[in-house]
């Protein structure tokens, strides 16, 4: 187990190194204009451009430039230039909102996904199953930038049930926190609810044909016990892996769009504003921190998975 953890962590560091090199290449090597000019932003003065050029050492060889960039990221010296604010402070400020959004959405999609998937599988072929199939396919195809405007228009503007965007800290008012987040949560969760219910359904249908299920039935267990203790439990492991991967990808993906649509001042919102102002340092910072989170979460999930399932730990030698 320890060897697996070490191997996985080494892999994680390697992937993070690749990400940082990619980010460096994306921002400092590929583009076809002076790098200091780009970093300075839209309304840069020649003085600022000159100072950025010296600060980042753009006349040095590329590996040295890379080292300078990484040093800035690790020491919190990565700053946006107009106005001059450290990027890491802005990101730290956005994290509570981003996590509130993502974790809540994750709980909702896992809960509803499992519930609907279980009901679908138990009544496979029935009316409920067919209805859920249609709902799931529709849910998978509706992009967040359609769900959110529809929900906001009808539930916020027309019926005035929910507050109009924004975010309230959990510590300052839990009720407001909840009402502000319900729509964003569901917006983010709809796609995955449909998807997870399909995956769980097909996993359970596969598991129902296994020998251990026949054994359980032969033992005289009730149908409900067979379903929950044997079929469902064995179908959950792939779901957990999937959840680990998706959760990281959501924080660094669709959550950004959701934050923009609902004006939630999280990390993604910060990045989106940097995009519209063409401010590169924040995008650089958010990409690196986001990548760290995604990769770290994937590693944690893999380790947890290996703990649950020895076959993974032992790799190919077990087969």
């Amino acid at each position: 187990m320890l060897r697996f953890i070490v191997r996985r962590l080494v892999g994680m560091v390697f992937v993070l190194f690749i990400v940082s090199v990619l980010v460096f290449v994306i921002f400092n090597v590929i583009p076809n204009s002076p790098p200091a000019q780009r970093l300075a932003g839209k309304n840069a003065t020649p003085v600022l451009v000159k100072s950025i050029e010296e600060e980042w050492g753009f006349d040095e060889p590329l590996p040295v430039q890379y080292a300078t960039m990484m040093k800035k990221v690790f020491t919190g010296e990565l700053i946006q230039y107009s106005p001059r604010i450290p990027v890491n402070e802005q990101i730290e400020e956005g994290i509570p909102a981003t996590f509130s959004l993502s974790i809540g959405a994750g709980i909702i999609w896992l809960g509803f996904g499992l519930l609907l998937g279980y009901l679908s599988a138990v009544r496979a072929g029935g009316k409920l199953d067919k209805l859920l199939t249609v709902v799931a396919i529709a849910g998978i195809s509706i992009p967040v930038f359609l769900i959110a405007p529809v929900l906001i228009y009808f539930l916020t503007y027309k019926l005035e049930i929910f507050p109009n965007g924004g975010y309230v800290k959990l510590t300052s008012d839990p009720w407001e926190w909840l009402t502000h987040l319900i729509l964003p949560w569901f917006t983010l969760a709809v796609l995955s609810i449909g998807f997870y219910s399909r995956v769980l359904r097909s996993n359970m249908l596969d598991a129902m044909n296994e020998d251990y299920v026949r054994t359980a039935r032969a033992k005289g267990l009730s149908e409900r016990q067979v379903m929950t203790r044997h079929v469902l439990r064995n179908s959950l492991i792939p779901i957990i892996t999937l959840f680990g991967l998706d959760f990281g990808a959501t924080i660094a993906g669709t959550a950004i769009i959701t934050e923009v649509l609902y004006n939630i001042p999280g990390v993604g919102y910060y990045a989106a504003h940097a995009i519209s102002n063409l401010e590169l340092p924040p995008i650089m910072g958010v990409t690196l921190y986001g990548a760290f989170f995604v990769v770290f979460f994937n590693a944690v999930v893999d380790i947890g998975y290996a703990y649950l399932d020895p076959r993974v730990r032992l790799g190919a030698s077990a087969q």
Binding site: P31, S33, I140, D246, I256, V260, I283, V295
Partner: protein, 347 residues
């Protein structure tokens, strides 16, 4: 259709493609969505016709001070307060059918049709590029095995585990600011080839990984051994023997990847890291439209519905093709902006 000729029966005189076509045509849902998809394509192709003969305006033409004469009353396209006109349907002879898009007073319907051209173009072209590159990488990795496979497979794994939307944003913004120059390839920042390039690169693993797996198993088959015994070289084995057997998988992946890439493009464009003005796509139209959501909800919702219909029809067509071409196959590529393919479903 000849009902006595059972598909799949030994005496069938029809080829596998014909059988697949028959199976596909029997899938009413898939055929229905195929028709819908063609309707959407026709809709965007008709953009110049509508623009020149009905709306009499272009997608980027502004109408800030123009007035419409509708049923004897005068309506301003953009009011003094900067509020654009709502949908006119056919009241103004087709002008401003869906209203104007912002204080610039551009015709939303014309923009919807032209924007759809760009969304579909980016989706199809990037899917072509991704699929081609992915198939070549998958063939090389699965055929040569050894270190070639290790290098390609590890690279794909790394690319797979990256936050693609974030890196896509980073690359999209960075290129939008300053363009690209690598050897003979030169792109200006506003070119729609920037998002095409970004999307093509970051979606390769979604197709290359399953293709590699299939090549690995195909290369163990008897027909490959037979070809080796005949003295076939690696090129003939890869492209003459293995590639034709991947055809059905490639067709399915190509269809699903158009849908996936259109969602990716919409996400990038929505955030300002994809299609740049003066070009517009459905994604950029939504980002302009949400600002007026309270008064003109259709501006954001209609392009969103267009994206959904296109993506939904491509997903259903893709599923139908998979069932028709290879009923036993379980490989899938899921269209989503979260962009993670379920390992469980591919096994």
């Amino acid at each position: 259709m000849n009902s006595t000729n059972r598909p799949g029966s030994a005496g069938s005189d029809r080829g596998p493609w014909r059988l697949a076509l028959d199976r596909f045509l029997r899938n009413r849902l898939a055929v229905g969505f195929l028709v819908l998809f063609f309707a959407i394509v026709l809709f965007v192709l008709a953009a110049p016709l509508w623009a020149n003969h009905v709306a009499h305006t272009g997608p980027n033409q502004t109408h800030t001070v123009e007035k419409l004469h509708v049923n004897g009353e005068v309506r301003e396209v953009v009011t003094v307060e900067g509020k654009p006109i709502g949908p006119q349907w056919f009241e103004a002879g087709g002008k401003f059918f869906l209203g104007a898009d912002s204080r610039l007073g551009r015709d939303e319907m014309v923009r919807l049709m032209y924007g759809g051209r760009i969304s579909l173009f980016i989706g199809v072209v990037s899917a072509l590029i991704t699929t081609t590159l992915a198939v070549i990488l998958g063939l090389l990795a699965g055929y040569y095995k050894g270190w070639v496979d290790t290098v390609i497979a590890r690279t794909l794994d790394v690319l797979w585990s990256l936050p693609v939307l974030l890196l896509g944003i980073a690359l999209g913004v960075s290129l939008a600011i300053s363009g690209l120059k690598i050897g003979p390839i030169e792109l200006s920042g506003g070119s729609i080839w920037v998002p095409i390039l970004v999307i093509s690169v970051f979606t390769i693993p979604y197709i290359a990984r399953p293709i590699r797996g299939e090549v690995l198993s195909l290369s163990q088959k008897e027909f490959v051994e037979a070809a080796i015994a005949q003295g076939a070289g690696p090129l003939r084995l890869m492209f003459g023997e293995i590639l034709p057997n991947l055809a059905s998988t490639i067709i399915v992946f190509f269809t699903l990847s158009i849908a996936n890439n259109m969602l990716f493009e919409a996400a990038l464009s929505f955030l300002g890291a994809g299609v740049q003005p003066p070009n517009s796509s459905w994604g950029t139209m939504i980002s302009i439209g949400v600002e007026l959501l309270q008064t003109q909800p259709l501006l954001a919702i209609v392009p969103g519905v267009m994206i959904m219909l296109t993506v939904l029809s491509l997903n259903v067509i893709g599923d139908g093709l998979r069932d028709a071409l290879d009923p036993r196959s379980k490989v899938r590529l899921e269209a989503r902006t979260g962009m993670v393919e379920p390992e469980g479903a591919a096994v």
